[in-house]
């Protein structure tokens, strides 16, 4: 029994509350060793793995937040870009509209001027036509009046003048016409 390194003693001393001796120092040593074992075990088995898990999850969430922020920033940039493009397009549209309006106005002016000229021309032509018609009608009227006067004269002569007088008047008229022809 005495040769073995560790053995249980047959007599166990009575317990105590507190003492400053070798046994207390040994107990402190054992408790310190126990504490180290427990710290290492809890650290490796529980504390550090859970901490790593929490850290990784936090990083993952942070990454997602960062990605979302980056996407948001990009979206904002795109919106700003689109807004600028829309403004540019609006500006261009207004410019085109203005240019078109100006062109239309100029064309309208030209058309109006042409129309005016044409109207003047038509008016002139109408006036000429009216004048020509007037002359033609005047001539026709004159011929008609002459014919009518001749007819009236003929009728009057037929009804009121005898044959001798008719001949006499005819002779005089003929003489006058000949006289006029000779003079011309």
């Amino acid at each position: 029994m005495q040769d073995t390194v560790v053995f249980l003693s047959q007599t166990v001393p009575e317990g105590r509350v507190f003492g400053l001796d070798t046994q207390t120092l040994i107990s402190i040593g054992i408790q310190l060793f126990n504490a180290i074992i427990l710290a290492v075990a809890l650290g490796f088995i529980l504390y550090n793995p859970v901490k790593d898990f929490l850290r990784k999850r936090t990083e993952g969430i942070q990454k997602k937040i960062d990605d979302s922020d980056a996407a948001m920033l990009k979206a904002k940039e795109l919106i700003a870009e689109y807004d600028a493009k829309i403004k540019e397009i609006d500006k261009e549209r207004l410019e085109i509209l203005e240019a078109t309006r100006l062109k239309a106005s100029e064309e309208s002016k030209l058309i109006l001027e042409d129309a005016k000229l044409e109207a003047v021309e038509i008016k002139k032509r109408s006036a000429d036509s009216v004048s020509a018609e007037k002359s033609r009608l005047k001539e026709e009227t004159r011929i008609y009046i002459i014919e009518l006067a001749s007819l009236m004269a003929k009728k009057y002569i037929t009804e009121n003048i005898d044959e001798d007088t008719q001949e006499k008047l005819f002779e005089e008229s003929l003489a006058k016409m000949e006289g006029a022809k000779w003079q011309s």
Binding site: V6, S9, F18, I28, Q31, L42, G43
Partner: protein, 226 residues
């Protein structure tokens, strides 16, 4: 309930007598309990989800709350020693809870409290010399070199005061409960002691655990701070 810390076995190791006290045996029980819990938690960790539920919430909360607490007290630079204080916190708290079930709290033994205080003192010295090097040694001679004995006593008193504070508080609860059991008739020794144990062991124990850990953290931070 008796006040003495019983010796369960006496080992003879190479001619040196080693008493295996009730404290040491209870510490082994607590260690076994905590390690089994840690292993179960570790197994559960494999199935942890991004959004925690049930048991995962408890495990995450325990680790995260303590990590934030230790991180705030120690700072980013010293946060790598937080697993040690996690062990101290969990061990002391569990030993308080164990006393409800009739086990003598290991923290009611000066050997336990001094072992933990000695470890904190050692960490304090190691961190002080590691992070401040000569400056830490110089702090023992400030404001003048004649203050060295006072500074040295002040530093050596730290683990002693730390250990006796916890030991005294835990022992006081044990003494009060021993007196209660010794002085009261048998019919009031059922039911009522539960509340006394809950108050003196758990509430006092939790407060003293917090105080022990926060003071230890402050000592270490104070030694390592620039």
């Amino acid at each position: 309930m008796i006040l003495n810390i019983d010796n369960l076995w006496v080992l003879n190791v190479a001619g040196v007598e080693v008493w295996i006290t009730e404290t040491i045996f209870n510490t082994w029980l607590i260690m076994l309990f905590l390690i089994v819990l840690a292993v179960i938690a570790r197994i559960k960790l494999k199935s942890f989800e991004v959004i925690p539920t049930g048991c995962q919430n408890v495990i995450e909360s325990v680790v995260e709350i303590f990590d934030n607490f230790a991180g705030d007290a120690l700072g980013e630079k010293l946060s790598y020693i937080s697993p040690w204080y996690f062990m101290v916190f969990v061990y002391l708290l569990t030993s308080c809870v164990f006393s409800i079930f009739g086990f003598r709290a290991p923290s009611a033994d000066w050997a336990t409290t001094f072992a933990l205080a000695l470890a904190s003192f050692s960490l304090m010295l190691i961190m002080g010399f590691k992070h401040r090097k000569g400056q830490y040694l110089k702090s023992f001679f400030e404001p003048h070199f004649i203050f060295f004995p006072l500074n040295l006593i002040g530093e050596l008193a730290k683990p002693v005061s730390l250990s006796f504070r916890l030991f005294g508080n835990m022992l006081s609860g044990t003494i009060i409960l021993t007196l209660y059991y010794a002085l009261t008739p048998l019919f009031v020794q059922f039911g009522i002691p539960v509340f006394l144990h809950a108050f003196f062991d758990v509430v006092f124990g939790a407060i003293q655990t917090y105080i022990f850990v926060i003071i230890s953290l402050m000592y270490v931070r104070g030694a390592a701070a620039d």
